[in-house]
C-alpha cells in the first residue's frame, strides 16, 4: 500500500533553517524529481532533531542513515549515490570528536544516547490501561523472579549492590531503607509510594503513573517482599485525576490477574495496595508529614529519628519511596545490579528524570544518566537558550534547591555535586534562567512558595522564612540596605541549621545560592537601587532618548496614566513621578527612542 520506498527527512528546525536547510530540501526534491523518483521517494521537512550544532541534518529512511552539515549542493550526491545506488555518502556521515569512525546509524550516535530511559521506559509506548501491554514488555517478571528465586535477604543485597538512591530528593540508598524496615520486627509493616509530587514544574512522577502505573505497583510488591510488608499505600495528590484513574484501573487489573492480593503467583506471598489522596500540600511530600496525612492527622512533619523504618504509619515499620525510585526497581532486578551500577557516576548510579523548563528551547521531560553535565542537558538536549539569549543560571531541586551559575555548567550531575555547589537534586526540577531574569526576584519567588507551603510548625520556617521573604521584598522594592544582606545571610544559615524538616532546612537555598553566585546583583539593588535584569518594577525607569525621538506622539497616546508630554515633532518626556512602569510606551515606539534603565 505504501507508495514511497524511501524518505529523506530534512531538519527544518530554526538552527538548520539558518544554515539553509530550506534550500537543501528544495534541491533534494528537485533531484528526486529529475531522477524520476517522485513517486518512490518523499522529501520531508521536519521539526528540530535537537542536534543543531551539526545542522543541517538529513535522515534517510528506512536505512536510518544520518547526514550532518549537509549543504544545498550536496543534494545531488545524496540522490545519485544513496537514493539511486544505495551507497551512503561517507563524507557527510557524523564523526564523533576524538574518534575516527564515521557513524551512519542515527541510533548509534552518542548524542542520542545522552538520554537513557529506565524509569520512563514504557511511558509513551505502551497503553497504561492494558495490563497485557505491560506484561508483553516483561512486566511483573521481576516480581515473579524475586518471589520464586530470591530470599528477601538476597533481594536486599541486590538492591544495595545496585546503588539505587531515593529519587524524591534526599538520595538515601534505597537498599538501606528497605533493609532498615526489614530488620525491624513487627506484626505489620507498610510500603508507601510517595506520589505527592510538589515541586513547581516537576511532573516526572505524574508521567510515570500516567504512562506506566504497573511498574510502580510491581516495585511496591517487590519492596513488600523485601521488607515483610503486605500492605501498600500510594499517597497521591488529588490534583492528579488522570494518574489516579490509571492507577485505579491498574490496581484492578493486577488484582484480577492475581498479581496483587493473596498468594501472588502461587508463592504464598500476599500484597495489596490502596490509594490515599492528598490535598496537595507541598510539605506532605516529607515522609513523616505524609504518614500523618494518611493517618488522618494534620500533614506536619515530626522530628526524625525515629525514622519511619522504625515507627512509621500507625507506628509500624514503614518504607516510603517515591514513584521514580520504584519505577527503577523492576529493570534492576531483571538486568542485574551490575548493569544498573554501570550507569551513572561513582556515587550516584542509574539515571535521573528532569523536568527541563524555563528559557530553554526544548522544554520537556528528560531522563539522563547520572554524571551528565548540566551543559549537556541545557544545550544539547534542551537545544540551548530561547531567542539566542545569554544563559544566566539554572535552578535545580525545586524550591529547596539553589541557582547554579555558568561557572558550574560542567559539573557532572549527582547528589553530592549538586549539594556541594549549593543546590540539590530534589525531585528533578530544572529551570533555566537567562539574562532577563533577576536573581533577587527569583529567590523571592521561591521564598514566597516556601512561605505558602510551610506547615507552620517550627519557628524558623514559619517566622524565619517570612522574614527572609520580607527582606527580599524590601530589596526588590529598592528599600534594602547592606545590613539587610547581612541579615539574609545570617538568618538563612540559622534556618538551615534549626528547621524541623527537610522543607525548612533547605528553604533558604535559593537565597543563599543566589547571594553566593550573584552577589553583585544584590548589591546593585541595595546600593545603586538598580535591577540589572530590568525585572524589579520599583527599580525601573523609562526614558526617552532625545536623539531617536521624532515626536510622533505614539507613546503619549498609549500611556495609561498620561505622564508623557511633548508636542508633535518635538522630543517627548516622561514624568518619572507619575510613571507606573507598564512599558506600554516602549512597545508603542517604532524608533527605539524609549529605553528602560
Amino acid at each position: 500500500m505504501s507508495t514511497y520506498r524511501m524518505h529523506l527527512l530534512v531538519c527544518g528546525g530554526t538552527g538548520c533553517q539558518a544554515s539553509d536547510s530550506r534550500q537543501l530540501a528544495d534541491n533534494l526534491q528537485a533531484q528526486v524529481l529529475m531522477a524520476g523518483m517522485g513517486k518512490e521517494v518523499q522529501v520531508v521537512t521536519t521539526g528540530c532533531f535537537g542536534f543543531c550544532e551539526k545542522g543541517p541534518i538529513v535522515k534517510v529512511l528506512p536505512d536510518n542513515i544520518f547526514y550532518v552539515e549537509v549543504k544545498p549542493a550536496d543534494a545531488e550526491e545524496i540522490v545519485s549515490e544513496h537514493v539511486l545506488k544505495g551507497r551512503p555518502v561517507n563524507r557527510l556521515l557524523y564523526v564523533e570528536p576524538g574518534m575516527k569512525e564515521r557513524i551512519a546509524e542515527h541510533r548509534e550516535m552518542p548524542f542520542y544516547k545522552k538520554q537513557l530511559r529506565i524509569a520512563l521506559r514504557n511511558c509513551g509506548f505502551i497503553d497504561p490501561e492494558d495490563i497485557n501491554e505491560y506484561i508483553s514488555v516483561d512486566g511483573y517478571q521481576a516480581l515473579g523472579k524475586v518471589l520464586t528465586e530470591m530470599t528477601p535477604d538476597a533481594l536486599l543485597v541486590l538492591m544495595k549492590k545496585s546503588g539505587l538512591r531515593g529519587r524524591g530528593g534526599g538520595g538515601f540508598p534505597t537498599g538501606l531503607k528497605w533493609e532498615a524496615a526489614a530488620r525491624n520486627k513487627s506484626d505489620k509493616k507498610y510500603i508507601i509510594c510517595n506520589a505527592d509530587e510538589g515541586d513547581p514544574g516537576a511532573f516526572m512522577d505524574r508521567s510515570i503513573l500516567e504512562g506506566d502505573p504497573h511498574s510502580v505497583l510491581e516495585a511496591m510488591a517487590i519492596a513488600g517482599y523485601a521488607t515483610g510488608a503486605d500492605c501498600g499505600y500510594i499517597y497521591i495528590r488529588a490534583e492528579y485525576p488522570l494518574a489516579i484513574h490509571r492507577l485505579v484501573i491498574a490496581i484492578g487489573q493486577a488484582r484480577q490477574a492475581g498479581l496483587l492480593g493473596e498468594n501472588i503467583l502461587g508463592t504464598g506471598f500476599s500484597f495489596d495496595i490502596e490509594i490515599k489522596y492528598g490535598a496537595g500540600a507541598f510539605v506532605c511530600g516529607e515522609e513523616t508529614a505524609l504518614i500523618h496525612s494518611i493517618e488522618g492527622e494534620r500533614g506536619e512533619p515530626t522530628n526524625k529519628p525515629p525514622f519511619p523504618a522504625e515507627s512509621g504509619l500507625w507506628e509500624k515499620p514503614t518504607c516510603v519511596n517515591n514513584v521514580e525510585t520504584f519505577a527503577n526497581v523492576p529493570p534492576i532486578i531483571l538486568n542485574g545490579p551490575e548493569w544498573f551500577s554501570s550507569i551513572g557516576s561513582e556515587k550516584s548510579k542509574g539515571t535521573k528524570v528532569f523536568a527541563l523548563a524555563g528559557k530553554v528551547n526544548n522544554v520537556g521531560l528528560v531522563e539522563v544518566p547520572m554524571g551528565i553535565k548540566l551543559r549537556e542537558i541545557i544545550f544539547d538536549i534542551g537545544g540551548g537558550i530561547k531567542d539566542g539569549k545569554k544563559f544566566k543560571s539554572v535552578q535545580t531541586g525545586g524550591p529547596s534547591g539553589g541557582c547554579i551559575p555558568a561557572e558550574h555548567l560542567d559539573t557532572p550531575i549527582d547528589y553530592e555535586n549538586l549539594t556541594r555547589i549549593g543546590s540539590m537534586m530534589g525531585s528533578g526540577g530544572m529551570i533555566v534562567l537567562d539574562e532577563d531574569d533577576c536573581m533577587v526576584n527569583v529567590a523571592k519567588f521561591y521564598l514566597e512558595f516556601t512561605c505558602d507551603e510551610s506547615c507552620g510548625k517550627c519557628t524558623p520556617c514559619r517566622v524565619g522564612n517570612k522574614r527572609l521573604h520580607e527582606i527580599l521584598t524590601r530589596i526588590t522594592e529598592g528599600k534594602g540596605t547592606m545590613k539587610d544582606l547581612d541579615n539574609l545571610k545570617e538568618l538563612g544559615g540559622i534556618i538551615k541549621d534549626t528547621a524541623l524538616c527537610g522543607l525548612g532546612q533547605t528553604s533558604p537555598n535559593p537565597v543563599l545560592s543566589t547571594m553566593k553566585y550573584f552577589w553583585d546583583e544584590y548589591v546593585a539593588h541595595v546600593v545603586d537601587k538598580r535591577c540589572p535584569a530590568g525585572v524589579c518594577t520599583a527599580l525601573l525607569s523609562y526614558y526617552v532618548l532625545p536623539d531617536n525621538c521624532i515626536g510622533c506622539t505614539a507613546c503619549r497616546r498609549v500611556c495609561p496614566v498620561s505622564c508623557i508630554s511633548g508636542e508633535v515633532k518635538k522630543v517627548h518626556e516622561i514624568d518619572q513621578t507619575k510613571c507606573i512602569k507598564c512599558g506600554a510606551c516602549q512597545k508603542a515606539c517604532k524608533f527605539g527612542a524609549i529605553v528602560r534603565k
Binding site: N303, D452, E453, C455, K457, T459, I494, L500
Partner: protein, 581 residues
C-alpha cells in the same frame, strides 16, 4: 535498662538509652532552655512536637543542630549545649517569635508569669529586634465564660493541643491553616462557646504566654464588694488553700487557709465561707443517692458530678449514659443555693442583693455558674467565679503582705467542714469521702481506718474493692478526661463494672485545675499540693462529712430529709444531651 555513655560539654555521663538529650542534661544539671517542651511526668502529659527550636544543641557528626527535647541519646554521642552556634540559633528562634508577638509585656495578663518573657530575658534579648515584619492579628475569642483566646500571643508551642487532644481527648484545638498564618483554633474558627470544649482549662494551665487565659471576673467582684447595696459572700474551694501561697512565692503545698480567710475578710467580703461546707453537703446527698440506687435497683455505677468539665464532657460524648451520673450539683453550686435560701432567710438578707463569689481552682466553674438550670428562679446559685490566680491578683492589688497575714477563720454557719470535704481537691478524694459516710450508714459501724490508700495516687485509672458489710463495693477512679473516656468506653462495652466511679477532668484532680497558679510544666508542684490536701485532712478533728454539725443542722432546720424533696429542689440538677461537633 541499657545504659549509654555520652559527653555533654566535655564531661562524660552514663544515662539510660531511652533518654533524650534534654533528660540527660537535666540529670547532669546542665541547663538547656526550653519553650514548647513539656513533660508532666506521672500525669502523663508530654508535649514533644519540638516546634519552637529553642533547645537546640550541637551534636558532633550531625550536619544540623539537634532539638535536645526530641533527640534520643546514643552511645558515644558528644553534645555541646552552649557553643556560640547553638546559643545564637536559640536566641534567633526567640527573636523570631518575638518579631511576631505583641511587645505589651507591661500590661499583659501573663506579665511575670510568661515563659517567653522569661526566656527572652534569660537569653539576653534586649533593645531592638534584629528581624521585624508583619505580625499576626486575630480576633480575640471571648465567647465563652471561661477561656480567653488571644492568638496574637500564640507561639505555636502546641501544648494546648497536646492537652486538649491527647490528654483530655476533647479535640477542640488544633493547628489550622499553614505557614505564617498557622493558628491553633477550633474547627472552622468556631468560637469556643459553640464547641464541645469542656472548659477544663488545661490548655490555659500549660500555655506559656497569654494566648490562652481565663475570662476574668475580677472587676465585677471588686464592684460588688464596693457596692454598699450588695451583700457579698465568698466561698473557697479545697484546692485553693494549698496552691494560693504559690502566688506569693511560697513553697508549693503550703497550706494558707487561715491567711486566705484573713485576706478575703480584709478585702471587704461580707462573709467568708468555705466550699468545704458544700462538699460535706454533697457527700450527704451523693452517699444517700448511692445507697438509694443500691437498695432500689437503680442504675449503677453512679458517677460523681462535682466536676463541671466532666459533666460537659459526658453531655457531649456519652449521651447514652446521661442517667448514670449523680444528679448532685457540684459543691459550690449547692453552697450557693443554700446561701441564697437558708442563710438569707436565717439572717434576713434579700437573696436578690446577695452576691455569691466562688474562688475555684477551675475555669469550668465559670462556665458552670452560667448554666441556665443553675441560674433560674430570679437569681443564680453563684454569681461570680474567680480562679486561684485571680484571687492572688486581688490580694496583690489590695497591697497585703500575704505571708504576714494572721491566720483567720471562716464565718459560720457555712464555714464548718470535715477532712472528707478537704480531699475533694485531689483525685480520688470525692469517692473516698463518700465511702467514709456510705460505709457507716450501710453498716451502722464506726469506720476506724478512714484512709483508702488504694484510691489515692496519680495512676490515670485506679480501682479498689471495698468491703461494706456483706457487699464488695467496686470503686473506680479516673482523672484526666482521656482516662475518663477509656473507663466509660469500657463500661459501655460491658467489659468492666463498678458500683461507683469518681471522675475529675484535670490531671491530679482540682489541685491541677486550670485556674491554679501556673505550674510551668513542673508536675512536682501538683504532687506537693496533693500532699498538702491529705495533710489538711489528717489534721482535721472530724473527717467524715456526716459529722459536720452545721450540715446536720441545715437538714434539721431547713432541708428535711437527706435526698428528700427540698434537697432535690435545691441541691440536684439535670443534664442535657449536647451535640457532638
Amino acid at each position: 535498662m541499657r545504659l549509654v555513655t555520652i559527653r555533654i560539654n566535655n564531661t562524660e555521663y552514663t544515662v539510660p538509652e531511652h533518654y533524650t538529650i534534654l533528660e540527660a542534661a537535666r540529670e547532669a544539671k546542665v541547663n538547656i532552655p526550653t519553650l514548647c517542651h513539656m513533660d508532666l511526668g506521672d500525669l502523663k502529659a508530654v508535649n514533644h512536637v519540638a516546634s519552637c527550636r529553642v533547645c537546640m544543641v550541637e551534636v558532633e557528626g550531625r550536619r544540623n543542630l539537634a532539638p535536645s527535647c526530641a533527640t534520643k541519646v546514643t552511645d558515644g554521642m558528644t553534645i555541646h549545649t552552649n557553643t556560640p552556634r547553638a546559643v545564637k540559633a536559640r536566641r534567633t528562634s526567640v527573636e523570631l517569635l518575638l518579631s511576631d508577638h505583641p511587645a505589651d509585656c507591661l500590661i499583659c495578663e501573663k506579665n511575670r508569669s510568661c515563659d517567653l518573657q522569661k526566656l527572652a530575658a534569660d537569653l539576653g534579648v534586649r533593645g531592638n529586634l534584629k528581624y521585624k515584619g508583619a505580625m499576626s492579628t486575630y480576633r480575640e475569642d471571648i465567647s465563652s465564660k471561661s477561656i480567653h483566646r488571644n492568638l496574637d500571643k500564640c507561639i505555636l508551642c502546641r501544648r494546648c493541643e497536646t492537652m486538649c487532644n491527647e490528654v483530655q481527648t476533647v479535640g477542640i484545638l488544633s493547628a489550622v491553616d499553614r505557614g505564617f498564618e498557622t493558628v491553633v483554633s477550633p474547627a472552622f474558627g468556631m468560637p469556643m462557646s459553640e464547641t464541645m470544649c469542656t472548659f477544663c482549662g488545661q490548655c490555659v494551665a500549660v500555655c506559656p504566654t497569654a494566648a490562652l487565659t481565663e475570662i476574668s471576673s475580677l472587676r465585677q467582684v471588686w464592684e460588688a464588694i464596693n457596692d454598699p447595696d450588695k451583700f457579698v459572700v465568698v466561698q473557697t474551694a479545697p484546692a485553693v488553700r494549698v496552691a494560693l501561697g504559690e502566688e506569693f512565692d511560697m513553697e508549693p503545698g503550703t497550706i494558707v487557709t487561715g491567711k486566705m480567710a484573713s485576706a478575703l475578710r480584709m478585702m471587704g467580703f461580707d462573709r467568708v465561707f468555705d466550699t468545704d461546707f458544700g462538699a460535706d453537703l454533697t457527700i450527704i446527698e451523693e452517699a444517700s443517692e448511692f445507697i438509694h440506687r443500691l437498695q432500689h435497683g437503680g442504675r449503677l455505677p453512679i458517677l460523681t458530678s462535682c466536676c463541671p468539665a466532666w459533666v460537659k464532657f459526658f453531655e457531649h460524648q456519652f449521651q447514652d449514659l446521661l442517667d448514670i451520673p449523680s444528679t448532685c450539683k457540684s459543691p459550690h453550686e449547692m453552697f450557693g443555693a443554700i446561701a441564697k435560701t437558708y442563710y438569707a432567710e436565717k439572717f434576713n438578707i434579700d437573696p436578690k442583693k446577695m452576691v455569691v463569689v466562688s474562688v475555684m481552682p477551675c475555669l469550668a466553674k465559670k462556665y458552670e455558674s452560667a448554666r441556665p438550670e443553675l441560674t433560674g428562679e430570679g437569681f443564680s446559685n453563684v454569681d461570680y467565679v474567680l480562679t486561684t490566680r485571680e484571687l492572688g491578683m486581688m490580694i496583690r492589688e489590695s497591697g497585703f503582705n500575704f505571708a504576714d497575714l494572721e491566720e483567720g477563720e471562716f464565718d459560720n454557719p457555712l464555714g464548718e467542714s470535715t477532712g472528707a470535704s478537704v480531699i475533694f481537691g485531689a483525685t480520688g478524694g470525692v469517692i473516698e469521702a463518700a465511702l467514709r459516710t456510705a460505709y457507716e450508714w450501710l453498716t451502722g459501724e464506726t469506720l476506724e481506718q478512714v484512709e483508702f490508700h488504694a484510691l489515692r495516687g496519680l495512676e490515670g485509672i485506679r480501682e479498689a474493692t471495698v468491703k461494706i458489710g456483706d457487699l464488695d463495693v467496686k470503686i473506680g477512679v479516673a482523672h484526666g478526661l482521656g482516662n475518663a473516656r477509656k473507663l466509660l468506653e469500657a463500661i459501655r462495652r460491658g467489659e468492666v463494672n463498678y458500683h461507683a466511679i469518681e471522675i475529675m477532668a484535670c490531671p491530679g484532680g482540682c489541685v491541677g485545675g486550670g485556674g491554679q497558679p501556673y505550674h510551668h510544666g513542673d508536675a512536682e508542684i501538683i504532687k506537693k499540693r496533693t500532699a498538702a490536701i491529705y495533710r489538711e485532712d489528717a489534721g482535721k478533728p472530724k473527717r467524715k462529712s456526716h459529722e459536720n454539725l452545721q450540715v446536720m443542722k441545715l437538714y434539721k432546720e431547713f432541708l428535711g430529709e437527706f435526698y428528700g424533696e427540698k434537697a432535690h429542689e435545691l441541691l440536684h440538677t439535670h443534664y442535657t444531651a449536647r451535640e457532638k461537633i
